[in-house]
């Protein structure tokens, strides 16, 4: 099933057009999305580095979760809101962007990683709360989180570049397949 018709419909809605063509709103939303990196990802990185046992080793993990958790959650809400607005402004190109698709896959994996952590080793936090070096399962979760968020940041930045855009043909077949490009039938006149 393709979401392309939905994205095409979304692109024609008045709000999408207004945001896309706005002089200041789009850059402001984009700036908020980028600067929220400091809040959301900055705090997440500190959380993950604590899981790896390389910083804040004297602070109990429960304390980190309780004190940094609300800031991470607030940053996440801001990230998702501004991110959704950016997609709303430019739905079709984003949907058919190779980078955007890799980013979405990495986001899903980061969500799964967080779910596995919170429903697994985090449930037994009392056992390792004060350890300088958390157990392997916690360290794995921290390392996976850092790597996935790095992929999300880099692919997110790459969306801005048009190297693999569907309207730039010819592209390698693999790019067209992964990006969901709809090409004119062979022999059709452009």
């Amino acid at each position: 099933m393709s979401l392309l018709p939905f994205c095409q419909w979304l692109a024609e809605t008045p709000g999408s057009i207004a945001l896309r063509e706005s002089l200041y709103m789009y850059p402001l939303v984009e700036s908020a999305h980028v600067l929220t990196l400091c809040l959301f990802l900055g705090m997440t990185i500190m959380f993950d580095l604590r899981l790896l046992g390389v910083t804040l080793t004297g602070v109990p993990m429960a304390e980190i979760r309780q004190r940094l958790g609300p800031w991470i959650a607030a940053g996440f809400v801001l990230m998702v809101t501004t991110g959704a607005l950016l997609f709303y402004a430019i739905p079709v190109r984003s949907y058919q962007s190779l980078w955007f698709r890799i980013k979405v896959v990495a986001l899903i994996l980061a969500g799964l990683n967080a779910f596995v952590f919170h429903s697994g080793i985090d449930r037994r936090l009392a056992e390792w709360d004060r350890q300088c070096l958390p157990p392997p399962a916690a360290r794995r979760a921290g390392a996976a989180s850092l790597m996935l968020w790095a992929v999300i940041v880099v692919t997110g930045r790459m969306i801005a570049y048009k190297w693999f855009d569907c309207d730039r043909q010819p592209q390698p077949r693999i790019v067209n397949v992964l990006a969901g490009c709809v090409l004119p039938a062979p022999g059709a006149r452009r």
Partner: protein
């Protein structure tokens, strides 16, 4: 006295014409890759700065001693700052003349200089002083000034990309 050494324009032009500047300017991937690293370091420096400033304002890790939070954050601040400067210089070399004449870039560099000086002087001294020796008002003020300066760096930096 000859003050021509203060005229940086010849240096800017030299960077633009240098092999590095030319390579950064003409490469398809170099700017994108280095800017991505710049962004990753932004997240780290954001975390290292926010964690301490939020603590100074009485938020975040507020049950931990300020000097401990500051000590833990410091190496990450220094490392990410260094990565920011190196990648920033490379990005600068790709279009030095445009940035030389850019108003947002001027403000970014001003905030960066002030933020860095503040971080290694007043803020470092205040955060490492034993708790109770500094009035809570001063702690909060230091946190606010630091947040404003670094926000200025980030916001002006973002605006560099939007201004032709």
């Amino acid at each position: 006295m000859n003050l021509s050494i203060l005229d940086v324009l010849p240096w800017i032009e030299w960077i633009a014409a240098s092999r590095l500047g030319q390579a950064m300017n003409t490469s398809t991937w170099a700017f994108a890759v280095i800017e991505s690293i710049h962004l990753l370091a932004l997240a780290v420096i954001g975390g290292a700065v926010l964690m301490v400033d939020l603590r100074l304002l009485g938020f975040g890790l507020r049950t931990q001693p300020i000097d401990q939070v500051a000590r833990d954050a410091w190496p990450w601040f220094v490392r990410s700052w260094a990565v920011m400067i190196v990648t920033g210089l490379l990005l600068f070399s790709s279009e030095p003349l445009k940035l030389y004449y850019s108003t947002p870039f001027f403000w970014k560099m001003t905030c960066l200089l002030l933020g860095t000086l503040f971080a290694v002087s007043v803020r470092r001294k205040v955060t490492l002083t034993a708790e109770g020796r500094t009035s809570p008002v001063v702690l909060k003020l230091v946190g606010v000034v630091s947040l404003l300066l670094w926000f200025g760096v980030g916001a002006a930096g973002r605006w560099v990309g939007f201004s032709g």
